[in-house]
Amino acid sequence: MRYALAETTPIAGATAPGPAPYDEMIDPDGDVRPHYAALARRVASLSDEDLAERQRLLERFFLLQGITFTVYGAESSTERIIPTDLLPRIIPAGEWATIEAGLVQRLRALNMFLADIYSDQKILMDGVVPRELVLGAPSYRREMQNLFVPHQAYANVCGSDLIRKPDGGFAVLEDNLRVPSGVSYMLANREAAKRTFPGSFRMAGVRRIEQYPDLLLSTLRSMAADWRPNPQVVVLTPGVYNSAYFEHAYLARLMGVPLVEGRDLVTHDNMVYMRTTTGLRRVDVIYRRVDDDFIDPLTFRRDSSLGVAGLFNAYRGGNVVICNAPGTGVADDKAVYAYVPEIISYYLGEDAILPNIETFLCREPSQLSHVLANLDKLVVKAVGASGGYGMLVGPHASRAERESFAEALRADPENYIAQPTIQLSTAPCLIDGAIDPRHVDLRPFILSGDKIRVTPGALTRVALKKGSLVVNSSQGGGSKDTWVLGETEAGEAGA
């Protein structure tokens, strides 16, 4: 069986056809890469009906587990599962070693950056990062200034977005240090893949990711004060209507800790308690899945009903730990992103193992004019936005869309950055019963507490629309399981 490669010019209207995207399974000569060989043989041996049946099995698994989001219609609401692709994405051991080292290095540097920003601000004094860029960012929280954070671990859970460039190298597209989500899909995809491809899974020698909840719990525990012998950890969720609610409940269940909402917590004498059936019980560590703005109406947004009044004072008093720390967003700001390589060499004296994507800051007049002149080749993003909102994919946009975006750019250049349109790598996906390549990215999850740990696995997000480069689930993206292979290439040995 031969596989089609993505056409080299999937982008209509692109002025210059860029290099062809890297395909995860097929090399440029059309042969299956060695780490995919076993799976490719297995897939080739299955009929279309077999594949469809497995896809149904997979979808039923998600539906049964309640891994759904609700689509609200005019008359009634229906529940849909997040689109999930049957065929796993495979990463060989050598490539993963680079990714892992790069992620650890990056998070170490970013935590040091945050510790510095919220204390002496040496990096600003030395002029490595522009002062106004950091202190003027809406995600900078002056309330965090000089506040003790154990192990200097500000971002306890980080989900970085990596992409593979046409030359085969990985690069970091975005750091998510606020409340990154998606880890439950990584785990659920794995559970499902073990049911759909048990044989190939065993043969490939895939590394385990099931320990993630245990590692998360020990990371969170390591943030508690030493004198609290048995720290009470809780997961704070905005509630059942949040689109990531399944994930909050899933992590709480697998860690065996209570899933609380703001209304379950009260503060008294700068301590945080939860309301239990038998009275109040002290809380030590809050893994919060609520944005900074909403965690404490007395400190941040006053109209928030999701948080706990007085929580931040309890945190300042050292009586409770909030994970991730408030104010981490300043380090994953899309404008600060451009300086991450400098941040890494400033604190660690090392070169970045994982490179950045070239980024133009529209706040600089010279870069702005370059961006405006090349709007049809660039991706422009609003600095504060996430989830694929507020962005323009130049080559895919119509002339009118580009013109109205240029208007917005000129009006508020500080709010935008631009990056070249990168051909994300493609991986084979099962689309309407046939196997067809789609663009994918990679979101691994990194934990940092007393030490930094990377789970050998990731969420691979898929742009299900042919040719599309937008993988966000809010914009028609799906996901698939990601197999990180162990040191020995068991996939080949077993064949």
Binding site: F246, Y273, R275, T277
Partner: protein, 314 residues
């Protein structure tokens, strides 16, 4: 130790699941018993309608429409689908407290009754549809029993089940024999239908043989020690689970709902069942319903919405 909000949700899951099962049986028996146009079929229809409605009974509703309303009408908290949707909504809010096995059962039932084909399945074969829901609910209860820890969370779930059950059986007794509502059931077929609605026909026959009389039915549904839907059985379980969950609550000397539950249990345990007149039975059923309502409020006040001043750490 469990979150107050979680305990409340588990309690409501118990109530809604029990209610859904009961409503299914009412609808099923109603459809079955009203196939002919006899006096007994009229009695059954009146009994079901007065058991599910509060006070006003529209007289001219056809049995089919009534069964449809009991089963499918959404928005009304006393329909099967509405009860299941709420049970599942509560389960979603405490998803971390339920085992996957238990959650899957409830989620499946919910997906079926709210799915696009539900209305047609009901219209095509209502009896089969209702029977399947009841069977699935039994699977849910079985999965919960077999996989959940029988600790505090279980206690709240069971409290919901048995308080709801005592109230449902009480209301059915009022609808069948209550003098205040007039027109008690007298026809043999209507009395068997009543037994069927509380799933009591076979256990009743085993105890009293086919000797079907109002006095014995009443005695059975109120005072039988072993039948799981009798008032005596339900109130004994309420007392048992309440003393379990209340063990660690320090009320500072005030009386909790356990006292009320103990008294209610004793009322049924020590009643002079054999000589009780119809009038006294009516009174006792009314007392049971009233005390269940007070227990419901008492549980909420003691475990969920307690005032913080009373419980601040010393």
């Amino acid at each position: 130790m469990m979150l107050a909000r979680v305990a409340d949700s588990l309690y409501w899951i118990g109530r809604y699941v029990e209610r859904a099962e009961h409503m299914c049986r009412l609808a099923d028996v109603l459809l079955n018993a009203t196939l002919d146009r006899t006096e007994s079929s009229g009695q059954v229809a009146r009994m079901v309608i007065s058991a599910v409605s509060d006070g006003e009974h529209p007289e001219d509703v056809s049995p089919w429409d009534a069964a449809m309303a009991i089963t499918m009408e959404s928005g009304d908290s006393d329909s099967v689908t509405a009860a299941l949707a709420r049970a599942r909504e509560n389960a979603r809010q405490v998803r971390d407290q339920l085992t996957t096995e238990t959650w899957e059962r409830l989620n499946l039932i919910y997906l079926r009754v709210t799915g696009p084909r539900a209305n047609r399945e009901f219209s095509d074969a209502p009896s089969q549809f209702l029977h399947d829901i009841i069977a699935d609910l039994h699977l849910f209860k079985g999965a919960a029993d077999a996989t959940m820890s029988h600790g505090e969370g279980w206690g709240f779930l069971q409290l919901g089940v048995f308080i709801e059950r005592a109230q449902l059986t009480g209301r059915l007794l009022q609808a069948g024999f209550g003098r205040s509502l007039g027109r008690p059931v007298t026809e043999h077929a209507a009395m068997t239908a009543l037994l069927r609605m509380s799933c009591a026909l076979e256990p009743y026959l085993r105890k009293h043989t086919a000797d079907i009389q109002p006095r014995l039915i009443r005695q059975f549904l109120m005072f039988d020690e072993d039948f799981p839907r009798s008032l005596r059985f339900a109130t004994a379980r309420i007392e048992e689970h309440l003393s379990g969950v209340g063990r660690n609550v320090d009320l500072g000397g005030a009386a909790g709902p356990e006292r009320l539950a103990g008294r209610l249990k004793a009322r049924l345990l020590y009643a002079e069942a054999e000589t009780l007149t119809g009038e006294d039975s009516d009174l006792l059923v009314a007392t049971v319903l009233e005390e269940c309502a007070r227990l419901h409020a008492g549980i909420y006040d003691t475990f969920v919405a307690y005032s913080l001043e009373m419980r601040l750490p010393a």
